[in-house]
């Protein structure tokens, strides 16, 4: 338990001091990307990991929010209005998305969300009067909360970090709450949950809305980071990528999505500078993860760590008193 606290404190300190030990705006920008993709993955993990509802259309939702910000700004309105409008539009879109896709679960749910994501992509591509089609929309400035400019990479990194930590706290509270427990119950035994008096559909609907909120937050950071949005951000590859982040890091774990986001973003943007066939490398990494840690990097590492710890303490018990090792094992 205390080891976990130390590890989390170290990770937190590393994130806060990151701009001081990482040189160059390029790597700071990569870190910002990791953080907003981590929020995106956290949002998908609420559904895919805790709810057992794998969505393959989440990039479409992220895109709607990003376009909402860009379009509102283009219309000459301010950042506050753009962000609020994007949140409202994102949540409303998610509500429609949820009502349509929650008609099914399992493969059916995946297929409906895939279709919805593709429809949104098609709209972004073809509804030129609003989206400017393939050319996309530019976002000229970043917002200045409390008169702090987010134009520099470091300032934007800290904005992402704060929003990420708040999002992580939100998911942590949710997962431990009765509604979170109910959501996991509907994942494992929907029929039983219904027989115990739960409204399974409504629980899943609210999980979708929460997932939509995190996706919207991520979408806002996404569009302000790139200062540009085009249909490419909404395509199936993007939806699959965030799902891979969740699965690689550990679906249904709190920190898994962030670790998965770090892995994918680093391979995609940093390693791709050295290896031309980075896609193949990413594929190979996933294969290795699936073979050795099918539950994902974070739960897998915890499992191996515990196993090693138990072995070490069992070994030690041969030399010292057995009672001591028992007490250690209980911790």
């Amino acid at each position: 338990m205390s080891g976990r606290v130390v590890a989390l404190a170290l990770a937190g300190a590393a994130l806060v001091t990151l701009p001081y030990w990482i040189q160059g705006s390029y790597y700071i920008n990569v870190s910002s990307q990791i953080l907003f993709y981590a929020i995106f993955a956290l949002g998908l993990n609420v559904l895919a990991g805790y709810g057992g509802l794998v969505s393959l259309g989440h990039a479409g939702l992220l895109g709607i929010v990003a376009y909402a910000v860009a379009y509102t700004l283009q219309a000459g309105l301010g950042h506050t209005i753009a962000i609020l409008a994007a949140l409202v539009i994102g949540l409303a879109s998610m509500a429609v998305y949820a009502v349509l896709s929650l008609r099914a679960t399992g493969i059916g749910f995946i297929m409906i969300t895939l279709a919805l994501g593709e429809i949104i992509w098609g709209l972004a591509y073809r509804w030129i009067s609003i989206t400017n089609g393939d050319n996309g929309i530019n976002v000229r400035t970043r917002p200045e909360p409390f008169d702090l400019s987010l134009a520099s990479p470091i300032a934007f990194y800290y904005a992402c970090l704060i929003v990420f930590l708040v999002s992580l706290a939100m998911v942590t509270v949710f997962v431990r709450s009765p509604l979170g427990a109910a959501l996991m119950g509907t994942r494992d035994q929907p029929r039983r949950m219904n027989a115990l008096g739960y409204h399974v559909w409504a629980i899943r609907f609210w999980a979708c809305i929460f997932s939509g909120l995190l996706t919207a937050i991520s979408g806002i950071l996404f569009v302000y980071y790139n200062q540009f949005i085009s249909p490419q951000a909404l395509d199936l590859t993007s939806s699959a990528e965030v799902l891979l982040m969740v699965i690689a890091g550990g679906a249904g774990s709190l920190l898994g999505p962030a670790v998965g986001a770090a892995l994918v973003v680093v391979v995609k943007s940093v390693v791709s500078g050295f290896i031309e066939r980075w896609n193949m490398l990413l594929g190979a990494i996933f294969v290795v993860i699936v073979i050795f840690m099918p539950e994902g990097l974070v739960p897998g590492t915890v499992r191996l760590w515990r196993l090693a710890w138990r072995k070490a303490s069992a070994h030690a018990s041969h030399e010292t008193e057995p009672a001591a090792s028992e007490a250690e094992a209980k911790q």
């Binding site: 431990r176 009765p178 494992d188 035994q189 029929r191 949950m193 115990l196």
Partner: protein
Amino acid sequence: MSALTVNALCKAFGGLHVTTDVNLNVEPGERRLIIGPNGAGKTTLFNLITGELTPDSGSIALFGRDITRVPSRRRPHMGMARTYQIITLFPHDTIIHNVSLALLGLSPLRWNPFIDMRRQGHIVEQAHEALKRVGLGHIAGRPLAQTSYGERRRVEIAMALAQNPKVLLLDEPFAGLSIDERRDVHQLLLGIPRDVTLVMIEHNMDVALEFAERITLLHFGEVIVEGTRAEVVADPRTREVYLGH
């Protein structure tokens, strides 16, 4: 007023009539046993009563109130609980979490996304109490994956009892248990107070007959015989249908 009334209930899957014109009248506090050979439609009848299946025709009433159109998820809130023949628990969680979920199902807290579930003192307390009733108080914190089949049966019953039902439907509570475990569960069922009406499906005649006051014999979806224990056991149709000679 009857605790549970089933009136002219019919259900067919395609051309297969699994429930045909079934009538049941269970008095408050009664211990009712439903028997019948495999495929007689016993579990289907339970699924109709709890609302997991919708009847083609007929009606169901709980304490005089027609619940035929009430969604199944509302029925626990009206005092109906059930256990499953095939154990249906939450495999990744602890025993106490399973029972807590049962309690939470009837509490408005179940919609709350902000509070810590493990810190809800009254829920944890009630869950412990329910587990003590079934003799599992000492292993409440154990993950379900590390429990025996017999213990899981008792968790099933604890979850149903935790909801404080007025009518409890038990679907083969002795299935797959050893003789010792069967005796434990039997004692447990005998200890349920009389303000709970029990309806039980069971194949295991030696324990079940001892338990029941009235027996309903189903065969091919129809009620063949109904009456007191002595009447049903003495009836020649029981021998013919159930015992096969």
